[in-house]
Every structure is written in C-alpha cells, then in structure tokens.
Subunit: 313 residues, 2 copies
C-alpha cells in the first residue's frame, strides 16, 4: 500500500513539520523574478512557528477568554485587552450571569456570519446594559503595541496586528479598530449606532466592509471548524432559521476564569509583537519554499492565521 | 408556475441581521463624509440583485457543472469556459469515467482547504492523463469578457470578474488567472509545476498567495456550507486525517450534462458582464443603506459573492 498522497503542503501554521524537503535555501530555479528583489525570509512559515522560542508564546488572560459550547464542540474566543472595553465588560457580565445558556445560533448565513443570542428577545438581561455606546473605533495612543502588516490595505491607511488581532488604523484621525477577518467576534446592532446589547456574531469569511460600522472586540482562536459546521439558514429569510428545531443551542458561554483550571484549555498564542511573528509576515508575503513559482510580495491582513497551540501537560 | 428562490442577496441586504428599515433613500446624517464624494449607487445590493432583469441571468453549460455528492449534501462547482481548458477536460474525463466515486476528502484544514481524491494513490486513472501541464495563468486576448473591480488589488495589477469568476491580470506580461477566493476549485500538485493529475482542493477561505502557483479552474456556486461542514484533520499531520473512518466519502462526482434534466439543479448566475453586476460592485464598495456609518470606497475581490439563484419549476 502506498503512502498517503500529500500535495503542496503550504499552510502557514498547519505546515509545522510538513514541509520536509522544502526547507532548502536554494530558491526554485524556475521561480519568476522581478527587477527588484523581493524581501524574503529563508525559513518558511512552518519552520518559523516551530522555532519560536518559549518567550514568544503568550498565555491569554482567562478573564478575556470565552468558551462557547455548542453541540459541534467548544469555540474559544479571545477578547481584546486594548479596545472596546465596554463591550468586553458587557459580555463578561452576561457570561458570568449565564445569560447565553440555552440561547441559540439562529441566524447563520453561509459565507457571512453566525449570529447568536436571544432570537425571541424575551430573556431578561440581568445586570447587563440595555444598549451600549458604539465602540467601532478607539483612539490610537502610544501605549498600544502594533505590528504593521507592511504593505497597503484597501480598508485602512495602515493595517497590522495588535496583541493577537488584525486591526486597521486611520492616520488622519488617529482611529484604530479590530478588523472583520474570519472569526471576528462582534455585537450586532439596529440602525442607531448605540443600539448593540447582547446579540453577537462570528464572521464566517472576511467582511471588511463592516469595519468601523460595528464593534469587533474578539476573535475565535480555537474551534472555528465548529462555527463553520453550524447549520445555515435560507438566505430568503435573511439567514434567520425559521424552523426552531434547526437552531443550534448554546449550552453555555463561560469565561475561562470561571472554570476550574483543570477544565480550561491551555492555549498559547504566538505574540504578534514578537520577532517570529514579524518573520512570519515576511514569509507569508513571499513564500521561500521551492513549491512556489510566483511570489506576490503582498499579504492580505486576513490571510495570516494567528498561530495558536494547545499546551498539553 | 415557477417561483424563484433568491440566494446570497443577504450579502447585500443584511449586514448584521438587523437592517430592517434601512432601505430609506435618505443617507445617514451621521455618516462620515470625505472631501471627495464617494461614488455610490442609490440602491443597495439586495435591491440591485432583486431588480436584475431576466436577460442578466445566465444558465451555465451543464458540461461545465460538477455535482460533488457527499453525506453533507450536494456541492455544485462551475468550471471555467475561458481558462485552463486541459484541467477542465481532465475533470470531465474523470467524472465521466466515475473515477472519484467512492474516493474521499481526506486532507481538510480549517481555514485553508478541503482536498479530495485518492488518498492511497491506488486507483487507476482510466483514460485521464497521469500529469497535466500547468495552467496557472492564461494569456489575455480581446475575446475575453472582463469586468474590472475598479480599485487596487494587492495580488494583481488589475482584478475583476471573468464570466462568473474572480480573476487577476498582469498588465505587463498579459497573464490572466482565476483567483483563490473562497470556494475556488483547483488541482493540487507536487513541487514540479506540471505534476497535477487528479487530486483537487476547494479553498475554505481566500488564499490569494496561491494565485499563479496552482491551476484554479472552477468555483463552488452552490452548497459551500456542505464543504464547510466536512470534518477537519489535525494541523500536526498537515491536515491529513489519519483515521480513515473520519474521511468524508465522495459518493460521486458527475457532470450535470450526464444526469437526466429532471435530476439537475436549475441554477442561474448573475452575469458578471451585466449592468446589474457592475452596479453591485459599486454598491458593495460604498453601501448606501442608512445602516452604514463608514463607507470605505473599496471592495476586496473575494468579498463580493456571486449572486446565484435556484429556478424552481
């Protein structure tokens, strides 16, 4: 029996240990060249992540980690420590008071979002606020740690990463915001800007046109495949699933901090301020491996996955 | 009597679920303005698609439609009529000879691709070719119908749409290629450029860095939620699912042309050369609805979903 056919193993994080044979420093002789040499690392993304030193991995604050449990599995959301503090506090309150337990993902649109919360709008909100002042953007200040993407972005004057999150900056008015890449965790709202309250959504694909129009304050860092497996609604109904039997029940949303340590997932994130992450940006912009015949010298903000690993005791 | 089920309108209509009442033509008084007025349609994306006239919808050639049947449901792939003719012919041969029937999706990486074919490399290829000359790009010629995106793109000199497909063009060397947006259908390969044969993949997220490195020759136009629901492998193993029990069986891949008409899905696509599609580009670049407080005057090539509808008799 022949071994599994393994073709073009090229994904950044997933490629750890899979790029055997492609680590040679000699470039592909057939690769296209340009007049200007492209900036390129010698190491591929998989190697960079594998060789990141212990100090470059960060353990997120359990007060900022949400576990969303659905029949498909556990979805882990990291909430921002820098931006949108009132939205973060609202979800912390809602999670602590068990507000979401037994509610549903009831509006799920393929390629767009999975929206969860109280479809019927009947559940008391406890000590959470009825409406939140929009936090679409925040003001840049020098205490923020920002790693630039290093190439143009269509939706922002400057794009990059702020402590684990893809983000945009407006250099004229000093605004900074978290970007709607895949797995963005945000609150929905009605037309008035300050109308968000409890309904949240997770983007299934990048939707950058929503940037600066809604408050993104978290991202899925684990279990995105469970979000992708949630049954979709029919577009004709705006994605709202009419048959309640097909809603996906949220058994609970909890803060990691509220679970005994033994029940938490020990996740570590590659620090987006680290040298390895900066190398990763370069390696994703121009992949050095022989497999690549064309190198674009460009990286889309949403196409760099955050390296996350499960630390097993 | 026939009814039309409209799909994907939601990308246009419903940003966050709660856009009811946002159809008023008066612009949001709080919306940000710039020195230069942005080019904007009066109609939102949903309205544009709903009002597209019958002549703007095209019925794809059943010789270019693949039905990929998996336990999750039917995945429908449209193959290009313009580019990569040898890859299209190869899949037509393989489908006609039942090559894929009983094979599997066995390498599936969250956020990256679902790869299908013969994991063990044992199945005879019948009259299909053992290897294909790469068709990463084709040469632009004036018979091609291309609708420009109309704003810069990081991965191509010019981006736009060619008969239903997102595509890039190099204005120096005249190359044109189909882009790795979500749902791109392509052949994998080993490191030599001409090594593709039967293994295919479907992108689960945009992966534009693969553009011009592999041959994209189709896209999923229906049932992408079924692709998203296929069980993933573990990253440590390059996404290859070790436990064969967890592979997803492909019961068959067939050309629509080879099924009786009564068993085909009557799908129609909005013609990407039509005026309505051009209006849709503008409306997605700057959403006119009151819901939007910020308008980016930019559209990412991969963030415009192709309007597809099921014509029910």
């Amino acid at each position: 029996m022949r071994a599994l056919v393994l073709l073009w193993v090229v994904f950044g994080l997933a490629a750890c240990g899979q790029e055997a044979g492609s680590g040679a420093s000699e470039k592909n002789p057939e690769a296209e060249t340009t007049e200007e040499a492209v900036a390129m690392t010698v190491r591929g993304p998989g190697q960079i992540v594998a060789e990141a030193v212990a100090e470059e991995w960060v353990t997120p604050d359990p007060e900022r980690i949400l576990y969303i449990d659905v029949p498909q599995g556990r979805i882990v959301v990291l909430m921002s420590a820098d931006l949108a503090p009132n939205h973060v506090a609202q979800v912390q309150t809602l999670a602590r008071e068990g507000y979401y337990d037994g509610l549903h993902f009831y509006r799920v649109i393929e390629g767009f979002v999975a929206q969860g919360g109280d479809a019927k709008g009947e559940k008391p909100k406890g000590s959470a606020k009825d409406s939140l002042k929009a936090e679409f953007t925040d003001q840049w200040h020098d205490d923020l740690s920002f790693t630039p993407l290093g190439n143009p972005d269509g939706y922002a004057d400057m794009a990059g990463y702020i402590n684990g999150f893809p983000a945009g900056r407006d250099l004229d008015d000093g605004e900074i915001w978290l970007a709607h890449c895949t797995g963005a965790f945000a609150f929905g709202r009605d037309t008035p800007r300050d109308s968000a309250s409890t309904e949240f959504y997770i983007t299934l694909q990048p939707q950058r046109y929503l940037d600066r129009n809604l408050t993104v304050f978290g991202r899925v860092i684990w279990g995105m495949e469970h979000v992708q497996a949630i049954p979709r609604g029919k577009p004709g109904n705006g994605g709202v699933i009419e048959d309640e039997e097909r809603w996906t029940e949220i058994s609970s949303i909890r803060l990691a901090a509220d679970l005994p340590e033994a029940e938490r997932l020990n996740l570590e994130l590659l620090d987006t301020n680290s040298d390895s992450f900066k190398d990763l940006i370069l390696a994703r912009r121009n992949r050095p491996e022989d497999f690549f015949y064309y190198r674009p010298d460009y990286l889309d903000l949403c196409q760099l996955a955050l390296p996350v690993r499960l630390k097993e005791e």
